[in-house]
């Protein structure tokens, strides 16, 4: 309870401070990366609290660094055989990089502002990666120490998304800035499990085989709980329950199967839908909050 109150307070405080910090980040748009001390000083010098300072750094990195798709494929094919020096040199000269470059820059700028920050490596999960299987460590993000509390964030996933297999679209995603660790763990599984910041983290196997979530799940703190597995197998005409955990609010929750939306009401922090599949086949079943996809299951009807 205390944790939730603190998180809510931090969120409210964060929103109030964000404007100020965000405008600082905007003032220095396009600033060079040649002198990181200078950049960090400019971004944080006028701000008082660590949360404001970190926000300015984070917002600047997310809005001024570009994701380099071709470099990412090169790294993927070389299986990490790119040196850190080369990565940093490329980032400083071209202001484009991959996730590890974003995480490195957030860490360096935070350190120069006196804020402890680390790079967290691990597995990220999306429609195209780490669904089932044995898992592949493919992503880096950050943990930051603010007001004696470690918090998480993902600068690359806040910077934008792949809108087609080869195009990166820049759009700031608020969901990945200091999210609730219990939702963040559903698509970010650290190699060092302490960085989940959870008392009872799931196992890697549970992570790889659990329901799939999207950025909006973090925004609405929506957690799919039943079924616990992403792949569900049922017989035709057999009823199956789907349940989403979500704090109460005025958000419209919908259950989507076969392209048909069905309104769902949230009661006591959760909403449950019983559905019967009549025909054999493979279906994607989704939950939507305010018309944004938050979670997906794959149901095979035999």
């Amino acid at each position: 309870m205390r944790g939730i109150c603190l998180a809510a307070l931090l969120l409210i405080a964060g929103c109030c401070f964000a404007q100020n910090a965000d405008s600082v980040a905007e003032v220095y748009a396009g600033h060079s990366l040649k002198d990181l001390n200078l950049l960090s000083q400019k971004l944080t010098g006028s701000l008082k609290t660590d949360v404001e300072k970190f926000r300015a750094i984070y917002k600047w990195v997310c809005t001024n660094i570009e994701y380099d798709y071709s470099y990412a494929s090169k790294i993927k094919s070389k299986r990490g055989n790119v040196s850190a020096d080369e990565l940093i040199r490329k980032l400083v000269t071209t202001r484009s990089t991959v996730c590890s470059g974003y995480a490195w820059l957030v860490r360096e700028l935070s350190h120069k502002a006196g804020i402890p920050c680390v790079i967290v490596d691990g597995h990220s999960r999306s429609a195209g990666s780490n669904i089932g299987g044995t898992g592949r460590a493919n992503h880096s993000w950050n943990a930051v120490l603010i007001d004696n509390q470690w918090r998480l964030c993902d600068p690359l996933w806040s910077a934008g998304y792949m809108s087609s297999p080869e195009t990166f679209t820049t759009r700031f995603e608020e969901s990945y800035f200091l999210p609730d660790p219990s939702v963040f763990i559903l698509n970010h599984y650290p190699l060092k499990i302490e960085w989940s910041l959870l008392d009872n983290p799931p196992t890697l196997d549970q992570f790889l085989n659990g329901p799939l979530i999207y950025a909006e799940a973090l925004r609405y703190r929506a957690i799919p709980i039943i079924p616990s597995l992403f792949k569900v197998c049922v017989a035709a005409n057999e009823s199956v329950s789907f349940s989403l955990h979500k704090p109460p609010g005025n958000d419209a929750v919908k259950f989507v199967v076969n392209g048909n939306d069905e309104d769902v009401t949230v009661k006591d922090h959760s909403c449950t839908v019983d559905h019967t599949f009549k025909r054999k086949g493979t279906y994607a079943v989704h939950f939507k909050v305010n018309d944004r996809y938050v979670a997906t299951y794959e149901v095979t009807v035999r």
Binding site: P116, N148, L156, G160, Y161
Partner: protein
Amino acid sequence: MEYLQRLHPGGNNKPMKKSINVSLLLSIVLAVIANVAYSQNDNKTAIKTHVIAGIVTEAETGDPLPGVNVVHQRSNKGIATDADGKFTFPFELGEGETLAFSFIGLDTQFYKIGSGDDSKITVSLKADAAIHIMEAAADNDVYVPRRTFVGAIKGWFR
């Protein structure tokens, strides 16, 4: 205020000001008692707690490190090591709890509290580990089940 409503379910109470005042007072007293009882319970959990103290050093040179952040993960309480790199955590902790030791430019270390004596622990911090280079971007695509060849052909006849 929600808990006050829960103490007085239904709306059948007579609209007497006095009785409302009395019941309000009573519920506040009850809430305070419950709170005290709860916090006492919190301190005297079944797990035995003990003092955590020691020194933080730099791994390469062995020199003591002043100003290292020592943070208890669950309570967000923390302190920093003194000029000699020493610390005594402000309250006792039980087995299985975690302390994080962090210092700018060095790799953060976690210390899991055991059942034995933790009053003279040594934690050494190494320089930031080399960057592991990863590449995944957010794709934000909504999942679409992969269609098998047989499934696709079946689809024609639906």
